[in-house]
């Protein structure tokens, strides 16, 4: 866990694109930096990384490194590396636990690099890079892609390839500071720069010893780098937890608020979780036309908060508030208080974007403690304990921006919500069509109607074993094996009074096609019941988390619609909404939509 401290913004270079260009005169005091180092230790960080501006030009550099080491933490630098060309400086820093260097080098062609940083630096930077080889450092060479170096990225691959300790990263330029001021001169179109980066990465994959493992990119929408989706790199992949700007008093979690996933372009993209999206300023200027969202493909609908620490809860007061709430991520940290103890969890998942995590946690209350020992809980009522925001947060003025304290709530929302739906379905009569019957989950719902002669039941499922299991349980049922959108074409027009899809909607390959087909096979006035699950998070121990990671349970969701998004797809397609239940803090993660087939 790294903490990033920006010590001030002065620099011995003056990059054209520098995003802190207008802050160059701001310098943090030494005492301020010292206090931040101490605070990083208190927050449980294991490494302090200094950044700027350029941290190595500060005379206090050794003093700060010493203080970090004395506190038992490792030391890192975000730097242009020039000062590290002095071998003895590097030696002293290594002795003070320097373990991580994130160094800038923007081109393999010296003149281009120097023109970008507006200083004669290239030779010095290479000397530093050579000094850094073979020292066991976590070493990244970062190249900011601007109009100036766009066509010369391969040259940098050639320079880095033989320096085998270094990982090479291409970063999109952020339209901020200098890059914003000189936007048209500096910032390339994202499709153009991504194409150049894709070319350089592909070239690097072929020529660099170590290949993919030494190639990264940052700030580019993942859809523009096909084949390198997993090579994304950002503060989180570097295990930064928190950072503090020079003029800030306390640490804040790292975030991506300067970037966005334009809606609706990115809404259904399966790459959204780890994808940086577009810089807001860029999107404002150019829109989202260059993006190529990946809407097909499977995805998960759950994520883990993994246990990090357990402490005794103080007898009074709030441990979060007393210590300052800002360093804890509202979405990704989770504090659970129970029986005099406070457990701290953190979600590192990149399957979902922070916004989705925040919504699941703070708006919808879809957080559960996994009390099972299974790779994937399948009996929610027994396996999961709902967590709710503690009463102690209610009067707190920090409530809105705090990660919050949560407590287990021993009410069985799953069984309750499930039972309510089952009772109502059991009352259906006439011709019922179920989409996705699964392994007989609902057979006991239909059996009384079937045996009593009030119900005729037809079901569709793509899994032959599911079909067999259902047939065994309900001999009178009519079952079809296949993808719903295909099977439905063979069913009679107006042949059904009710269509039901329980926990099937988000598994459908083409949900809209199924809805249109159902509009044909359900008679006018007939009903459609859709029940499905929203995204939820599980608080788990590390062992539980690892067990789940190793499990072979395949992802099956094609989307993660909630009631609102499902309805948006259905609206205007021949159905009238008659009932809607959204997921909320007092419910399980199950939502329900009920429609009536329009008369015509």
């Amino acid at each position: 866990m790294k903490a990033l401290i920006k010590v001030g913004y002065a620099c011995n270079e003056h990059c054209t694109f520098c995003h802190t260009q207008e802050l160059r005169e701001i310098q943090g005091t030494s005492a301020d930096v010292e206090r931040k180092i101490d605070r990083a230790k208190a927050l449980g960080h294991t490494m302090v990384v200094l950044s700027g501006g350029e941290p190595t030009i500060r005379p206090e550099l050794m003093h700060w490194a010493g203080r970090v080491a004395a506190a038992g933490m490792d030391f890192g630098l975000v730097t242009n590396g020039l000062v590290l060309a002095y071998a003895e400086v590097l030696e002293r820093l290594l002795a003070l636990r320097l373990r991580y260097v994130y160094m800038s080098l923007h081109c393999g062609v010296g003149e281009t690099h120097d023109r970008m940083v507006r200083a004669e630096s290239f030779a010095t930077a290479l000397r530093a890079l050579d000094n850094l080889q073979g020292r066991g450092l976590q070493l990244t060479v970062n190249c900011v892609v601007t109009r100036a170096n766009l066509r010369q990225l391969r040259s940098l691959v050639d320079v880095i390839a033989p320096r085998t300790d270094a990982v090479l990263k291409f970063s999109a330029v952020e339209p901020k500071g200098g890059a914003l001021r000189l936007h048209d001169l500096v910032v390339p179109r994202i499709s153009e720069s991504a194409a150049a980066v894709l070319d350089a990465l592909t070239y690097g994959r072929a020529v660099m010893p170590g290949g993919d493992a030494r190639l990264r990119h940052g700030g580019f929408p993942l859809c523009l780098l096909p084949g390198f989706e997993h090579s994304y790199d950002d503060l989180r992949t570097h295990a930064y937890w928190t950072m503090v700007e020079t003029d800030e008093a306390n640490f804040y979690p790292v975030d991506d608020r300067n970037k966005q996933h334009p809606s609706p372009t990115c809404d259904d993209c399966r790459l959204r979780g780890p994808c940086p999206g577009l810089f807001r300023a860029y999107h404002q200027r150019y829109g989202a036309d260059e993006l190529r969202p990946q809407t097909l493909g499977v995805r998960g609908n759950a994520f883990d908060w993994v246990l990090e620490a357990v402490d005794d809860a103080p007898s009074q007061g709030c441990p979060l508030r007393d210590d300052g709430v800002t360093p804890w991520e509202p979405a990704r940290h989770l504090f659970v208080r129970h029986q005099g103890r406070v457990a701290r969890y953190r979600a590192t998942t990149r399957d979902f974007h922070d916004d989705t995590l925040t919504r699941a946690k703070h708006e919808l209350g879809q957080i559960y403690l996994d009390a099972s020992r299974k790779p994937a809980p399948n009996d929610f009522a027994r396996d999961l304990v709902k967590l709710s925001r503690s009463e102690m947060c209610s009067p707190c003025p920090e409530r809105a921006h705090c990660t919050g304290m949560f407590e287990p709530e021993f009410s069985d929302v799953f069984e309750r919500d499930d039972a309510a739906v089952r009772t109502r379905l059991a009352a259906l009569a006439g011709d019922v069509l179920e989409i996705g019957c699964g392994y007989g989950r609902t057979t006991d719902v239909w059996r009384p109607g079937l045996e009593g002669g009030t119900l005729r039941y037809t079901a569709v499922d793509p899994d032959p074993e599911a079909i067999a299991a259902t047939q065994a349980a309900l001999p009178a049922a009519t079952l079809h094996c296949g993808e719903a959108e295909l099977v439905l074409t063979a069913l009679p027009t107006g042949g059904f009074d009710h269509a039901v899809a329980l926990h099937a909607w988000n598994h459908l390959g083409d949900a809209v096609a199924v809805i249109d087909a159902l509009a044909r096979v359900v008679r006018p006035g007939g009903e459609l019941w859709l029940v499905d699950d929203g995204v939820f998070g599980l608080a788990r121990t590390r062992a539980q988390h690892e067990l789940a990671q190793r499990s072979e349970a395949a992802l099956q969701h094609h989307r993660n619609d909630d009631a609102g998004r499902a309805h948006a797809r259905i609206a205007g397609r021949g159905w009238t909404l008659v009932e809607r239940h959204d997921v909320g803090p007092t419910t399980s993660n199950q939502w329900l939509l009920r429609y009536q087939r329009c008369p015509t």
């Binding site: 260009q21 207008e22 802050l23 005169e25 901020k176 500071g177 914003l180 001021r181 807001r280 300023a281």
Partner: protein, 73 residues
């Protein structure tokens, strides 16, 4: 559009640059020089917002000029 004119005798050029950087995200600015004046055009969605942004920008530039001990000499 609001046009602000900052006279070299009264404002530090670096202060204006810093102010423009600080406000870059909230409106569009066009900066040019006209004789002894630094001229900044402020373009925002509405006249009200332009007034606010122009006013805050001018205050910021003045504040930084004062903190810097006066205009560039």
């Amino acid at each position: 559009m609001i046009e602000l004119r900052f006279h070299r005798d009264l404002y530090a050029g670096t202060a204006i640059d810093s102010a423009l950087g600080r406000f870059a995200g909230v409106a569009r600015f066009v900066r040019r020089e006209d004789g002894a004046d630094f001229v900044v055009e402020v373009h925002a969605q509405s006249p009200g917002r332009e007034r606010t942004v122009a006013g805050e920008l001018a205050n910021f530039a003045l504040g930084l000029t004062v903190e810097a001990g006066g205009p560039d000499r």
